[in-house]
Symmetry: C2
Amino acid sequence: MGKAFLKQIARLMHQADPSASFAFEFWDGETIRFGAPPKVTMRLKSKSCGDQIISKGFLGFGEVYMDGNLEVEGELSELLRLGLAIDFDRHRLSLPHKLWCRLRALFKRSSRQGASANIAFHYDLGDDFYAQYLDPTMTYSCAYFSKPDDSLEQAQGNKYEHIARKLMLQPGETLLDIGCGWGGMLIYAAEKHGVRGTGNTLSKNQYAYARKMVADRGLADRVKILYKDYRQLRGTFDKVVSIGMFEHVGRKYIPVFFRNLAHLLKPGGVGLLHTIGKDAPSGRDPWTFKYIFPGSYLPTLSEICRGLARIGCCVLDVENLRLHYAQTLSKWSENYERNFDRIRELCDDRLVRCWRLFLNSAMVGFRHGESRLFQVLFSNGLNNALPITRAHIYRQ
Amino acid sequence: MGKAFLKQIARLMHQADPSASFAFEFWDGETIRFGAPPKVTMRLKSKSCGDQIISKGFLGFGEVYMDGNLEVEGELSELLRLGLAIDFDRHRLSLPHKLWCRLRALFKRSSRQGASANIAFHYDLGDDFYAQYLDPTMTYSCAYFSKPDDSLEQAQGNKYEHIARKLMLQPGETLLDIGCGWGGMLIYAAEKHGVRGTGNTLSKNQYAYARKMVADRGLADRVKILYKDYRQLRGTFDKVVSIGMFEHVGRKYIPVFFRNLAHLLKPGGVGLLHTIGKDAPSGRDPWTFKYIFPGSYLPTLSEICRGLARIGCCVLDVENLRLHYAQTLSKWSENYERNFDRIRELCDDRLVRCWRLFLNSAMVGFRHGESRLFQVLFSNGLNNALPITRAHIYRQ
């Protein structure tokens, strides 16, 4: 039933957005097309590819795509958007039950406790690979577009400033950055706000890079980079930030993360958690979990608030920046395609395609799907000396 | 053990804040005093009053105070603050277990499923009573102090404008205000932002007052006030707001409230929930539950986020305004004392004292205790056309 099943998906995509133009080209030359010319064409090389998609859902789609047995001409993100746009609940009654279940599994990306094998290649990626699509500050998290036409580098700087203002950083204060990546936040906070920074990472590449950047900028006396797990951090800090690291903690360790946080932030101190999350608990996307972020867990805002309350922290401010992450990923994708030749020199074709799919599916997830980006500001206990409005974040 | 127990409390209050000056005067003339002159003196008229406090905690304190058998000279709120300041966990080991449990029950205000009898007088209060301490717009919820020296009336106007900006109200849009009170938000939104408003209340006083205000201001064609329960509301609105009403829904009916909300807000529409809440679930204060807000339940932010997620809403922005409510209550208290003679004409002495204790204990709860004020902004499903920053809320 491979082809019939895939054609049914095409028809549902068309129903979901009748103005969309796209085509599926099958292994035997047959084509199903809606609108013309198609904005995106999916080309399947063999019947077994179709079967793999049908049996394994998005995991199968991803693997067939990585293997080069599924070619996409035009906008990959448009194809992913149309898949997400199908309203399965609406079609529940009009479709045979088995077909409905399979379709739902395909696009709703239900949970799958797959082993996280075959991901070693992820960690072999070097700084040079990331430099091909990140901005010059090597910031690997959601940027903040104050103006729609901000460049990626400007928007990453805006993000650091936005966080610095939320945290009300003052000269001489101590700032801990849990999961500091390539050191962008700490360098910004030390240079622009005069804080004394400490950060940790578990990536040797990031550790070496961040230390070098800190030394090159003459900040070695004020910014300390540690090669440590967050559970090994000691000391008490005026301010604590964690940007794009909490997603990797894993559900089981969320209480551990918060307990550590409670010790690291001084009473009355202010912290900011910047993390991808979801509105409601839902299954993992098994492809992303297997190939991109093994061990990850996307928390709900409810879980974050409960975790903070349990350690006696008081939520001051929450902002959902999902469309900023969509725009960030769009910029990363543009850079990725612009530097495509260099990227192909750096890694094999399978990884090249894997990363392209990751950037596109993540973007679609933030713009049309379940992904959110929460910035949660909190104080450790009550602090009645903080500004009572958020106007200081937006002063010119 | 009455006096010994109360003296122990005085000593713990002194330990919690050695700079505080206060005194307890007992029925037999004995006094325990810390600092001089005392900023606040608690005077107990009889041993049985002491026993009532010891056996019933804050409920007993409130009842003895209402009955006029406990007099407070100086700042009542300072006395309440010192009670809250005691660090019971620190004293757990140094106190006999039974004493610790009793002290904890006294100040931590543990849950008590008391019957909510004897509260009829609350609903007999007329508009004239509330007018003695509210501002001229008769707004009975947390104000927003853009500047520290804003008057109460300015701050209530600021609050309406703050909410209007968060909701991005546009001329011609429909706005539903669930639990509209005396109509302040709807009148503001119709006059300043040109919306067509609908609101409901279950208070006949508020219903009559709001309808008259709407008619007097020539808004009868644009603002509709309904005498209805929120479960009876019908229609679909561009924007929905609920200010200071969710506290009264009760825990059991939170899912019902949200299910109704889901039907009332159009897909992509924006809503704002403004409610008192807590960080962590905790017992009710039995005195307030019995005499001020029977049937009420203060939700955690986690519960609100989970409830919104379940109906497919996406949280955009959360702001904690607890110190604004402390300041609002402080202004209400000032008005209350200023108009004290008129208030005594309007109701009996027991109610006069009851309301004074309510205003003071609520203020202390926001400033030093567990009370929070959450403004939660959300969209019904995703809306990619909304502004992606919050700068519009803060433009001059």
